[in-house]
């Protein structure tokens, strides 16, 4: 809903828009009229009259809008009053001028016009002062202020604020601030300024203390240091407290003094990503800023001026993430390890990776490592494996040594790995003796010993592992008795690797006889099977070995069946003599009746 006050505000705000019209028009009229005077050819009166009336109306509108605008908050003062009345005057004179613009006698009009232009100029100038401030036009021509030096900026400060008690006549606390040596030397409590570190300087600290603090300087009741002076002082200290030469007048952003940081936790956040682009900047210790600024300096050059304006938070602090190696293919897993300071461990990890062994924490939140020699098992030797594993042995949780030619000596090392949970020794040269070295390991849960050369005593050695839950012993050289002995232990799962057989519970009955298929189509299996075998196929399929062929001669060639070439057809396993006959059979199964064994 448009309220009345909203409407007046709106109309008032049209003032800066509307005022350009009368200005332009009256200037134009002035050019026409006085140009005509010079050239002795007066401009057309009728035209001028029309223009003048339009211009007068515009002036009235502008003045009216300006009046409304002046009612808004924030407008006041002498400049406004002067501008207001000059503006009104301009509008009134404009109306009179328009009234006599069409007359034969030109001089009254010209006089009024001259007055009008004068007041308009004045009003306009004052108006622009209101919007842009004084000295706006001239500002570009004003030379920049000279950069301060110690002599021009800091010394007068000391002179005015400090010298009464810390000067030529008195040196309270043994501090003299009227000589260079005195400033640099400090007083009986130590140095008062730390070059380059304004917020660590005692001088600045004392100035910033609360006024009622007894250490606050200058003391209560004496003339105080103004903020501008403090800024200059800090800028001077930040520049290194130079006694000669100029220094940059803008002070660095303020931060907490150094000695207080000892109580604070210095570590920035570890690692992960993004979302807190803006948040963390203010929160991490600002101490990080000076140390890392050199590192980010190359990219930061355009940023420096922005940083130094006012109390901006230093936003270019790098994320507190852990530095990851930049080498191609290098892994960043190092940083998440807790004992990153353990140089030998880190070096060991690097050595493993350089040798293309997979070595990484199992998960982000786990300290244990998974070390897997699988990628380069073919080119690894036992000695090298031992050298590589020794520095990291304390943290290995899962170790893959499959196909590496390790023998029992390495198992002695494995026995000393406190976190080891899973050990893959498939196709290695370990023997029972090595397993005995592992006896009593408290954490080893899974052991893969497939394709090794063990003997039956290995079963006893394995039973000595209290935490063992799973063991793989395919082709490990253990006899059935030994395997049975192991399987007897209740919580131990033994995988013998035997080829599984089908455990059939039920076979679906064949579909009921269907109407004859159209000739030429691939015939259904069922009718053929039903015709040749009186036995229910369920019998043969119920065999433990469901793939034993039901026939002895190949239906295509008549040659004896080779049990390797078996195809399931119509619910039965049909054998063939060679790999080519099945293709022929599939093309036309009805052509090759299967002579099943009738037993």
């Amino acid at each position: 809903m448009i309220t009345e006050s909203a409407l007046t505000q709106f109309l008032g705000r049209l003032h800066p828009l509307v005022l350009h019209l009368p200005i332009g028009l009256w200037l134009g009229i002035g050019v026409l009229e006085f140009g005509g005077l010079l050239c002795r050819r007066p401009a057309s009166r009728g035209t001028l009259a029309v223009l003048a009336w339009i211009a007068a109306a515009a002036a009235a509108l502008a003045a009216g809008a300006g009046w409304l605008l002046a009612q808004e908050d924030g407008y006041g003062g002498r400049t406004l009053e002067a501008h207001r009345w000059l503006g009104v005057a301009t509008a009134i004179i404009a109306v009179f001028a328009a009234a006599i613009a069409g007359l034969q006698r030109r001089s009254p009009f010209r006089v009024l016009l001259a007055f009008l232009l004068g007041t308009m100029l004045a009003a306009g100038h004052l108006g622009s002062q209101l919007t842009h401030g004084e000295d706006w036009l001239a500002a570009p021509f004003v030379p920049p202020p000279p950069a301060p030096t110690f002599a021009t900026a800091v010394q007068p400060l000391f002179e005015a604020r400090c010298s009464k008690c810390h000067g030529a006549n008195k040196q309270k606390g043994d501090l003299a601030l009227h000589t260079r040596m005195g400033i640099e030397h400090g007083g009986k409590n130590g140095a008062v300024l730390a070059a380059g570190k304004p917020d660590d300087s005692e001088m600045v600290r004392r100035i910033l203390l609360p006024a009622d603090d007894e250490d606050h300087m200058p003391p209560d009741g004496k003339p105080q240091v103004t903020p501008k002076e403090l800024g200059l002082l800090r800028a001077w200290i930040a520049a290194g407290a130079p006694f000669e030469g100029e220094f940059a007048p803008t002070p660095p952003p303020r931060r907490e003094p150094a000695h207080r940081d000892a109580d604070r936790d210095p570590a920035p956040d570890h690692g992960t990503a993004a979302g807190d682009d803006t948040g963390n900047a203010g929160k991490t210790t600002p101490q990080a800023a000076p140390t890392t600024q050199p590192a980010v300096a190359p990219q930061q050059a355009p940023q420096q001026p922005a940083q130094q304006t006012g109390p901006q938070t230093p936003t270019e602090q790098p994320h507190g993430g852990t530095p990851a190696p930049a080498t191609p293919g290098g892994r960043g897993g190092d940083g998440t390890d807790a004992p990153a300071t353990d140089a030998a461990f880190a070096a060991g990890l690097q050595a493993l990776r350089a040798r293309l062994v997979h070595a990484a924490p199992i998960a982000e939140d786990e300290p244990g490592l998974w070390v897997d020699f699988a990628p380069i098992a073919a080119t690894m030797t036992e000695a090298e494996a031992r050298t590589l594993l020794t520095p990291v042995a304390a943290r290995v949780a899962e170790l893959g040594l499959a196909r590496v030619p390790v023998d029992d000596d390495l198992l002695a090392l494995c026995a000393r790995m406190p976190m080891l949970r899973r050990l893959d020794l498939r196709q290695t040269r370990v023997t029972t003796r090595g397993l005995q070295a592992l006896a009593g390991h408290a954490t080893l849960q899974e052991l893969v010993l497939a394709e090794t050369h063990l003997d039956d005593q290995a079963a006893d050695a394995l039973l000595q592992l209290p935490a063992l839950r799973k063991v793989h012993l395919w082709n490990a050289g253990l006899s059935a008795a030994a395997l049975a002995k192991l399987s007897a232990r209740a919580d131990l799962h033994v995988d013998t690797g035997a080829a599984p057989a089908a455990a059939v519970l039920e076979v679906e009955a064949p579909p009921a006889g269907n109407p004859a298929a159209t000739p030429g189509a691939a015939p259904a299996a069922a009718p053929a099977a039903a015709a040749t075998t009186p036995n229910a196929p369920a019998n043969t399929a119920a065999n433990a070995d469901a793939l034993r062929p039901v026939n002895d001669v190949c239906p295509v060639s008549g040659k004896p069946v080779d049990a390797r070439y078996v195809v399931v057809h119509g619910g039965r396993a049909v054998g063939f003599c060679c790999p080519n006959c099945p293709k022929t059979f599939w093309a036309e199964p009805a052509k090759y009746p299967v002579a099943a064994r009738t037993n």
């Binding site: 993004a274 682009d277 803006t278 900047a281 190359p298 990219q299 940023q303 001026p305 922005a306 304006t309 936003t315 270019e316 790098p318 530095p323 990851a324 930049a326 191609p328 293919g329 290098g330 960043g332 897993g333 293309l356 990484a360 199992i362 982000e364 699988a374 990628p375 098992a377 073919a378 893959d424 498939r426 899974e446 497939a450 793989h472 395919w474 995988d495 690797g497 599984p500 057989a501 089908a502 455990a503 059939v504 519970l505 039920e506 076979v507 679906e508 009955a509 579909p511 009921a512 159209t518 189509a521 691939a522 259904a524 469901a546 793939l547 390797r564 399931v568 057809h569 619910g571 396993a573």
Partner: protein, 479 residues
């Protein structure tokens, strides 16, 4: 050389620096953008918490295998052969252009017979197409209630690989590589192999294993199926390894100067890749050399194991890659898009994958790798219960069906031998425990040690993640 902290923090391109600087104003110009940059690279070189699985093997059956003919057993459909699909079931589901012209939507029960294998619940129904898989049914966790929105292959595979239907985002393997820190190794962190199929095949784009906006060292490396697994690894004639090394050192020196000058992170990625390629000269031949494998293991995978390019060969290589420290291995098998001739084509497809997958699981288990490997078998959507094209007793096709489909997981941290979720009698809608692709991603990342909401990367001013803004971990399938 610049200060290491600074160097890591300011790995940005000029364009990004000026781009972000332009967004700031006035005197805060450099500082705001500097902070923005320092928080930018949210590299996490380790999982968030202890992972159950250290590596992922993802078997993607491209085309959308029919759940009705493999794992979703609906015997009651046999009685409904050639009946029209009730509207109450279809509920106005949009059709693809391929079936929208059909007058009828006749129900097509599966011609294959299912067997119930023992598992840790009341048995897993698996059709006769995958008898080998039946032998390891007690390792598998079936999720019958998967659903997605995409109805066509390109957006659906993009959704499965990158978490959204629009291209441009990093793939699952790239996120893993980024999260684990692409480790200094001699094989890429993320490897992809593709096998051609027998049925209707759809295109596979390289961006399915691309790095999107992540640094390019996280992209998947595809091994070719014939000839050299990786092109240009071998030194050309007349060039010795020493020559190659000297050349790489010089190029690295020049690249490092450029990197110091422009702080472009792609240069670091390039340096890493060049070093990786040099190391792969030795590691890839060692990987593909099967002479060390014993015969019994090769028999486990079948005869195809020695033929490069077959699924069996890829599975064997996948196990070898897992042994050698590769963290994300993706196998794509094409040709599961059975719009027609389903019985014939699926027999061929299933036969090609059945034995190798079982062999892979058994092989991983034997070597002690299965417990910390997450294995996922999945298509990008399922198939319809109604037939596409003429329905015959022994022949039919099925159209795409995103509303419910089946996949299975095995290994690290997954509850073995269970079935999770249920579909209705027509395998058309989900009636219990729906799992969206985002939920699957969240769960997979959870098993690999990541909180899917915290594994993010800032790009274009937004913290992207694999699961976008969706995804909840499915606790029901975790141990």
């Amino acid at each position: 050389m610049t200060h290491p902290l600074f160097e890591r923090a300011l790995t940005i391109t000029r364009r990004r620096f000026f781009g972000s600087a332009a967004r700031s104003l006035g005197s805060a110009l450099g500082t705001a953008s500097l902070l923005h940059l320092l928080g930018d690279e949210q590299r996490r070189p380790a999982p968030h918490f202890r992972p159950k699985a250290k590596r992922l093997i993802y078997l993607h059956m491209e085309g959308g295998p029919s759940q009705l003919d493999l794992f979703d057993h609906k015997p009651q459909l046999r009685a409904r052969f050639d009946e029209d699909l009730p509207d109450s079931i279809r509920n106005g589901q949009r059709l693809t252009g391929m079936t929208s012209g059909q007058k009828r939507f006749p129900v097509a029960p599966s011609v294959f017979r299912f067997t119930r294998y023992r598992n840790n619940q009341d048995g897993a129904w698996i059709s006769e197409l995958m008898p080998h898989l039946g032998t390891v049914a007690d390792e598998l966790c079936f999720v019958h209630s998967m659903h997605t929105e995409a109805i066509n292959h390109e957006p659906a595979i993009t959704m499965f690989q990158t978490g959204t239907q629009q291209p441009g985002r990093p793939s699952l393997g790239s996120w893993l590589s980024y999260g684990l820190g692409s480790s200094n190794s001699n094989l890429p962190t993320f490897v992809v192999m593709i096998t051609q199929g027998f049925g209707n095949m759809q295109a596979l784009s390289a961006r399915f294993w691309g790095n999107g906006f992540l640094p390019s060292e996280h992209q998947g490396c595809k091994l070719r199926s014939s000839g050299d697994p990786v092109l240009y690894l071998r030194d050309p004639g007349g060039v010795t390894t020493a020559d190659r090394r000297a050349m790489l050192d010089l190029v690295a020196d020049l690249d490092e100067r450029e990197r110091d000058a422009t702080l472009d992170p792609e240069i670091e990625a390039r340096l890493a890749q060049q070093e990786m390629a040099f190391r792969m000269q030795m590691s890839v031949p060692e990987l593909t050399d099967l002479s060390g494998e014993d015969e019994a293991t090769l028999q486990l995978y079948g005869d195809d194991a020695r033929k490069p390019g077959t699924f069996a060969s890829s599975c064997l290589l996948a196990r070898r890659l897992a042994e050698r420290g590769v963290r994300c291995i993706q196998l794509y098998m094409r040709g599961w898009d059975q719009h027609g001739a389903l019985p014939k084509e699926m027999r061929l497809q299933a036969k090609a994958v059945d034995q190798p997958i079982r062999a892979l699981l058994v092989d991983l288990r034997r070597r002690g790798l299965l417990d910390d490997t997450l294995v996922l078998w999945s298509g990008e959507f399922g198939r319809t219960v109604y037939s596409q094209g003429t329905l015959k007793h022994d022949d039919y096709g099925r159209d795409h069906h995103p509303r419910c489909f089946t996949l299975w997981l095995a290994g690290g941290g997954v509850k073995p031998g269970i079935s999770y979720g249920q579909t209705d009698d027509y395998s058309y809608n989900i009636v219990q425990d729906p799992v969206h692709v985002h939920d699957l991603h969240a769960t997979m990342l959870h098993l690999l040690g990541f909180d899917h909401e915290r594994l993010t990367f800032r790009h274009q001013g937004r913290d992207f993640r694999l699961t976008d803004v969706f995804g909840k971990v499915v606790r029901g399938i975790l141990t």
